[in-house]
């Protein structure tokens, strides 16, 4: 390894870091604008054309804000926690390809590496909670770790199913495998010609994509799964004591992780940098078009994530854990099972799609039941009250106090 290589690596990393910062800035703008449109608001519109300079203003504000270290906090742990959250997600980006030739370092077992390093983030959240020595902080830290470790398992299982289909853990191979027209990439996959079709895996494994998106949302704590830093409940959870630059690092990490989830969805299930118009002759043009396709797909997934944020209410911690262990984890195992059987016996490709769709409808039904449960409960209470009121009143006094309207159970957190 020569010294020139070393400087090339550092240069590449700096470029990557800058690009990621720009992406995060664009994401904050996009989220506020898109959410605004969903809620019939304008979103940011004062700073610059269409509010485009809003993220810059936010960044300046965050850096200028006072960085408070509470007197009861554990100083070292408090300082190191944001780093433990951010640095792994930066290290993940080193291995994620944006186009076939555009990756800083392609790791041959990229998927496994990504899984392993994303686990370290959990540790950072627990540290943040513990370091700030605050009730809400520790509750939030514990809840976040419980949530993240529960949803890490479905992510792993789905990723394994994808690796089974592509017979590789290398992100570039997996993405190339989804390009229609490629016969086979490896000797192993040559055997599959009977069964598997080179189409984006979203077609073959809709269930896998759904689980990956749901669990991915939980991994980054996007809205239906943001109980661990719920502002109205535990006032920001692990981040309650953080302000200024330290807080902005958590913020940065959250958006970077969201972008990772979206990018992985695009790479694993939507065919990554492949698209209908893909010139192959000059290499730079191929890379450029590839990156454009990759970004289009990634931003599409991100818009879906924002859309989900604008639509779904927040889950309680018990609902969230029950959903993880009783719905998502078993279904992710079923996903592995059907993929394995399908590939081993070389069934036609639509059979996997069919099985997968059947199982996804199970998830859809359960989500529907969960989301409408409060409304149904209200209706039930309402009907019961009407039944009681229709009966002749024997004890007038008891009735007048009135049952409390809220059907909500007591929140049973940590």
């Amino acid at each position: 390894m020569r010294i020139v290589d070393f400087f090339l690596i550092i240069l590449g990393l700096l470029v990557l870091f800058t690009a990621l910062s720009v992406v995060v800035l664009s994401l904050t703008w996009l989220e506020r604008k898109f959410l605004g449109r969903l809620q019939r608001r304008l979103g940011p519109n004062r700073t610059g054309p269409m509010g485009l300079l809003q993220p810059v203003a936010d960044a300046v504000k965050l850096v200028l804000k006072e960085d408070i270290l509470p007197s009861s906090a554990d100083r070292a742990i408090f300082w190191v926690a944001p780093l433990v959250v951010l640095v792994p997600s930066f290290m993940l980006w080193v291995t994620i390809p944006a186009a076939e030739n555009l990756v800083l370092r392609n790791v041959d077992m990229g998927l496994f590496y990504i899984i392993a390093f994303s686990v370290i983030t959990i540790l950072g959240l627990v540290l943040a909670g513990w370091g700030s020595a605050n009730k809400y902080g520790i509750l939030g830290g514990l809840r976040s770790s419980a949530q993240l470790i529960s949803y890490e398992i479905p992510v792993i299982m789905v990723v394994i199913a994808v690796a089974m289909m592509a017979q590789s853990l290398n992100l570039i191979h997996i993405t190339n495998f989804q390009l229609p027209g490629i016969q086979s990439i490896t000797p192993e996959t040559a055997r599959l010609e009977a069964g598997i079709q080179n189409v984006p895996f979203a077609v073959l494994q809709p269930l896998g994509m759904v689980i990956f998106l749901i669990a991915g949302l939980a991994e980054v704590g996007r809205t239906p799964f943001d109980i661990y830093f719920a502002e109205s409940e535990i006032v920001g959870g692990p981040f309650v004591e953080y302000s200024g630059a330290h807080w902005s690092v958590f913020f940065l990490a959250e958006y970077m992780n969201t972008f990772i989830i979206a990018a992985l969805t695009a790479l694993l299930f939507l065919g990554g940098w492949h698209g209908p118009f893909n010139p192959t002759s000059p290499q730079w043009l191929e890379s450029l078009v590839g990156v454009v396709w990759f970004l289009v797909k990634t931003y599409f997934v991100i818009l879906v994530i924002f859309w989900i944020r604008g639509t779904f209410p927040r889950l309680r911690i018990d609902q969230l854990m029950a959903f993880a262990w009783q719905v998502v984890v078993p279904l992710s195992f079923a996903n592995i099972l059907i993929t394995g059987v399908f590939m081993y016996y070389g069934w036609p490709w639509w059979s996997l799609t069919l099985m997968s769709l059947t199982l996804s409808s199970v998830i859809g039904y359960l989500i529907y039941k969960h989301v409408t449960a409060p409304a149904r409960k209200v209706a039930e209470v309402y009907n019961r009250r009407r039944m009681i009121e229709r009966q002749p009143r024997r004890q007038a006094g008891r009735q007048s106090s009135g049952p409390s309207a809220g059907p909500e159970e007591a929140v049973s957190g940590g």
Partner: protein
């Protein structure tokens, strides 16, 4: 040198270091230019307006620990699954061995489900 491992992982290790340094620079810059007016009240931990009380550790529930153990076990399982996933095609032993493996662990999950451990609150 015994093994020239071409340092495929150098970029990854260095990326960790660079991320660390970049964030440290950001913290430093922020400390340098941000406003700074300390007071005793401001430095107390946040308690929604009431007076801060020390946190009691014993209030933390054991179920967090259980989920951590479950996570560890599934992680170990994933370590077995990853090498298997890339080779199982056309390998009869591999396929059935993993079926047995998954069945054994599925039994464990069913057991936990029956005992009601997988719910957060009973």
């Amino acid at each position: 040198m015994p093994v020239d491992f071409d340092f495929r992982w150098a970029a990854i290790i260095v990326s960790g270091i660079i991320g660390f340094i970049a964030i440290a620079i950001m913290f430093g810059a922020s400390m340098f230019i941000s406003s700074r007016r300390r007071s005793e009240i401001k430095l107390t931990s946040y308690e929604c307006g009431i007076e801060a009380a020390p946190f009691r550790w014993s209030q933390i529930n054991i179920r967090y620990y259980i989920f951590a153990i479950l996570f560890l076990i599934f992680d170990v399982e994933a370590v077995f699954l990853f090498p298997w996933a890339v080779i199982f095609i056309g390998n009869k032993i591999a396929f059935y061995a993993m079926l047995i493996f998954l069945a054994v662990l599925g039994f464990a999950i069913l057991y936990g489900w029956r005992k009601g451990v997988l719910q957060w609150s009973k």
